[in-house]
């Protein structure tokens, strides 16, 4: 296995723009161009564009495709209309998340988008759980480069798609596009070839769309309460704890982790994901311990300075008993205790 970082099709574009580059999930990615706060604000108020060529795209075809997906995915892919997608999770036997995914039903096959950091892990998981399915092909589409256009003004740049519903797909200039995103704003995600992604990028850049990096991608998704694998999800954390019980459908559907998740649903989860708002000038980071008095009752999974709220914020797993909105808890940041108020994980 090569340890050299992979580069997306737009790597040279980022360098030419003077982007700060960082390693992420095995890829060399832009973390920012003009600055995280500026890019974040562009997406919240206008429109921004993200190179998401690092995301894993896996096509599942054959007459056993649906049955296979049903066996590993918590959501129910039978509910998908053609050109529709759904959020789901691949769980292990304990109900812990192997990865969180988007499942698309396309024409004659299914497409699964997995996290960059979990692409190899998801592919191995699929292979390990495919032996009972005879007519099945699993293809890693490393030839596809995804691109994300996000913000309230995004739709105005794609007037042909104005009637495209959220979580549905259409075509734009011969490129498959879905009305999906990871920012809490309206937006579109393109599935382009390595050649056409450059044309798309140049097109939107020529319209003055701000290039946005992983730094803003993180502050945006955090404010919107969206999980990031490795923070809000790991092998020991379930979608029920993360706040996605609706993505776990038990009816007539046998999948890995079903029994564990059913038990969790019936007993109630022991920990749940909530938001925390801070009033003092220190930023909570992943791993910061959360206390109620002297008792440790939780841990921060992600923290940042919210450019929209202009305060430090965090997502944290808290003991279910103390996780009511409005409760004041304390968080240890660099050995000092700071007050924090519990709120819904959707912070804005």
């Amino acid at each position: 296995m090569s340890t050299a970082l992979k580069q997306t099709a737009l790597y040279n574009e980022h360098i030419a723009l003077g982007a700060k580059m960082v390693p992420f999930g095995g890829w060399e990615m832009p973390v920012s161009y003009k600055g995280i706060i500026s890019e974040h604000t562009d997406v919240r108020t206008n429109v921004g564009i993200f190179d998401i060529g690092h995301m894993g795209v896996v096509d599942i075809s054959g007459s056993d495709a649906l049955a296979f997906i049903q066996s590993v995915s918590t959501n129910d892919a039978r509910l998908l209309a053609e050109y529709e997608c759904q959020y789901s999770i691949l769980c292990n036997e304990n109900g812990g998340a192997v990865d969180d995914i988007l499942v698309y039903k396309l024409e004659g096959f299914y497409r699964i988008v997995v996290n960059a950091s979990n692409t190899d892990k998801a592919l191995s998981w699929f292979k390990a759980h495919s032996s009972n399915f005879k007519d099945l092909e699993i293809t890693h589409r490393s030839d596809i480069s995804m691109l994300s256009l996000q913000g309230p003004k995004a739709a105005s740049l794609l007037p042909e798609l104005k009637d495209l519903k959220r979580n549905h797909c259409g075509m734009w200039q011969n490129v498959l596009v879905s009305r999906t995103g990871y920012t809490g704003e309206d937006g579109f995600e393109f599935f382009a070839s390595r050649d056409s992604v450059k044309k798309l990028w140049d097109h939107f850049m020529s319209l003055g769309v701000a290039p946005c990096g992983l730094g803003a991608r993180d502050t945006l998704r955090l404010e919107a309460g969206l999980p990031l694998y490795g923070h809000e999800y790991d092998d020991n954390t379930s979608p029920i704890e993360a706040g996605y019980p609706w993505a776990v459908k038990f009816e007539g559907h046998e999948f890995v982790g079903k029994a564990a998740l059913l038990a969790q649903k019936q007993n109630g989860p022991v920990k749940i994901l909530k938001g925390l708002k801070f009033s003092e000038k220190a930023i909570p980071r992943q791993g910061a311990e959360v206390f109620q008095g002297d008792k440790k009752i939780g841990v921060v999974t992600s923290g940042t300075f919210s450019p929209t709220l202009k305060i430090p914020v965090a997502l944290a797993y808290l003991d279910s008993q103390v996780a009511q909105n409005g409760t004041t808890l304390s968080v240890l940041i660099r050995d000092k205790s700071y007050p924090a108020v519990v709120v819904a994980k959707k912070l804005i």
Binding site: I37, S38, G215, I283, F305, P307, R334
Partner: protein, 128 residues
Amino acid sequence: MATPNDRVYSKEHEWAKIDGNTAIIGISDHAQDALGDIVFVEMPKVGAELKQFAEFGVVESVKTVSTLYSPMSGKVTEINPDLASKPEIINEDPYEKGWIIKLAISSADEKSKLLSSEQYEAFLSSSK
């Protein structure tokens, strides 16, 4: 941004502009660029006694937090009043408006342990 040659630098990316018994202290352009958007600055109180290379505060950006180490020993005489409300001044103007503290220095000889602007630039190139 060129590295001003009217001051000295530490390997922790602070600078000290010394004028007689006073030193003005801040962080370099390299440091502010590496940090990204600065949102909080924790500063010592006026009157605090600092030792050369000891921690005196913290600069926090959206992505990370960085400890500040004093390039000189001395007593804090002033802290930049604008940083509480506009910490981004350090990003915009790290060498002038973005100054962090002023010290009444105890030993000007300590300068010898710091780098000239050329030495600091060489240090940055060698660390790449």
